[in-house]
Amino acid sequence: MPDRGKIIDVHQLAVPGLPPTAPEQLRLTTTTDPDVPIAITVVAPATDRPETAVLTTAATLDPKLAYQLTHLETGTQWIVAPSLIGTALTVLIAAALVQNFVFTRYLGLCVFFGVSRKRDTAIGMGVTFTIVGCLSGALAWAIDRFVLGRLQLHFLQIIIFIGIIACLVQTVDTILRKVHRPLHRKFGIYVVLITTNCIILAVPLLNALNQRGFLESLALALGSGLGFALALFLMSCARERADLAPVPIVFRGLPIAFILAGLFALAFLGFSGLRV
């Protein structure tokens, strides 16, 4: 397992365990272009950390990319890459806030406008959806990777994913009914509604399209669920207030809800500045 380096600045890279070396002795590349070396101008010992060297490059380094550094004489390798957990966290936060499925990708709107009238229903739907979404995301990932991928049956994706979701929803419903009746009475209705929420289908489709790993796929499912729950909660609070406000008659009901959603979408635009 090679050691890990870290990008500390746009032109600087901290590498632990690297003794003072001439820049020509090192070879730095990205993992996608292992044939083209990136020029290193200076190798200097780090001032704040022991046994660490700081490399300065001429080109800018991108913290989103993976790099590999090889010592040509000893053959020692270092990997400079975003950690798996870090990537997953980025996907999660992006899915929940920056690219919120409801406000920036416009998915799941039918259910969104349907159940965001009361705060209780919004919370119930949000919680149920997040849980079922994670389950279906994980299951769909496994089937896509191990069955559809192996057998080259990608054209069956939609029908299989829909099947998985339908089966899962039925199973969750049945288990909930058998195991915990009060819980079923409270959440059963939302479980059934989930099949008509397009987010639950979009998540596995997006994962398959981007060929994400398991952790990232799960992060997208969780992030989309949390983002949906957040959107529902915010919206229900606003709609409860709007019900008490003197809204012009032609705007009452759905039109004002759409205007509110538009305002939320504008507010969520602020998250785009967030670099995660």
Binding site: C110, I159, A166, I249, P255, A257, F258, A265, L269
Partner: protein
């Protein structure tokens, strides 16, 4: 087999078309299938293509359901409808990719999501599973047309005011309301159009539909 307790009267073709376009317009009135209405309507052309895709899926699925409903076990009717829709959606998805790749690049993901559109399954459940072939096809056609109409309307408004063009032709020297092209603009446009429809109703002296929104 579905056995409705009472047979609904079969409405006339004109009545069905009117419902699809105005009184039960899937986007503005029933608030169903909204995802594409906001997502792909940054230009009128995209809106039209999405509308056509939905129209095709709706008519084909209605037709299939009417043909095979005799053999569908009542308990699994919803899953079977879903399979029928998913099949047609995949077929259209592949045909779209083969025939109009440039357009497919833009609306590909949303075509796949037609599967989860509530409008199609609700028409199958409410109409095609009970009515004879002819009216079912007309109903599917009307609903699809109403949907396409809504998409083109939203798309034209957003493209004209947000992008300053119409069907790709430069209309205005500037882009007056750029934010209409953003997600938020889609919500505002639909909200305003819904209000406009309510206003037309009010003006025609009808009572407003209940302040709905409970449809999923």
């Amino acid at each position: 087999m579905s056995e409705p307790e009472f047979k609904l009267p079969t409405p006339s073709a004109r009545e069905l078309l009117w419902r699809g376009f105005f009184s039960e317009n899937p986007v503005f009135r029933l608030a169903l299938s909204l995802c594409p209405a906001v997502a792909v309507t940054t230009t009128a052309k995209n809106g039209l293509l999405m509308g056509i895709a939905v129209l095709a899926v709706q008519v084909l699925s209605s037709f299939t359901v009417v043909c095979v409903r005799r053999w569908i076990h009542d308990k699994v009717r919803i899953p079977v409808y879903t399979i029928i829709i998913a099949t047609w959606v995949t077929v259209i998805d592949m045909c779209c990719a083969a025939l109009v790749p440039a357009v497919y690049a833009e609306i590909g993901l949303y075509i796949k999501l037609i599967v989860a559109f509530a409008i199609i399954i609700s028409r199958l459940e409410l109409f095609a599973s009970q009515q004879p072939l002819g009216p079912s096809l007309v109903d599917g056609f009307a609903m699809g047309l109403g949907f396409a109409f809504a998409m083109v309307l939203i798309g034209s408004l957003r493209e004209a005011l947000g992008g300053g063009t119409f069907w790709g032709i430069a209309l205005l020297p500037d882009r007056p309301l750029l934010f209409l092209l953003l997600p938020a603009g889609g919500f505002f446009t639909i909200g305003l159009l819904m209000a406009a429809m309510n206003w037309i109703d009010l003006w025609r002296g009808r009572r407003l539909p209940g302040s709905g929104g409970g449809h999923a």
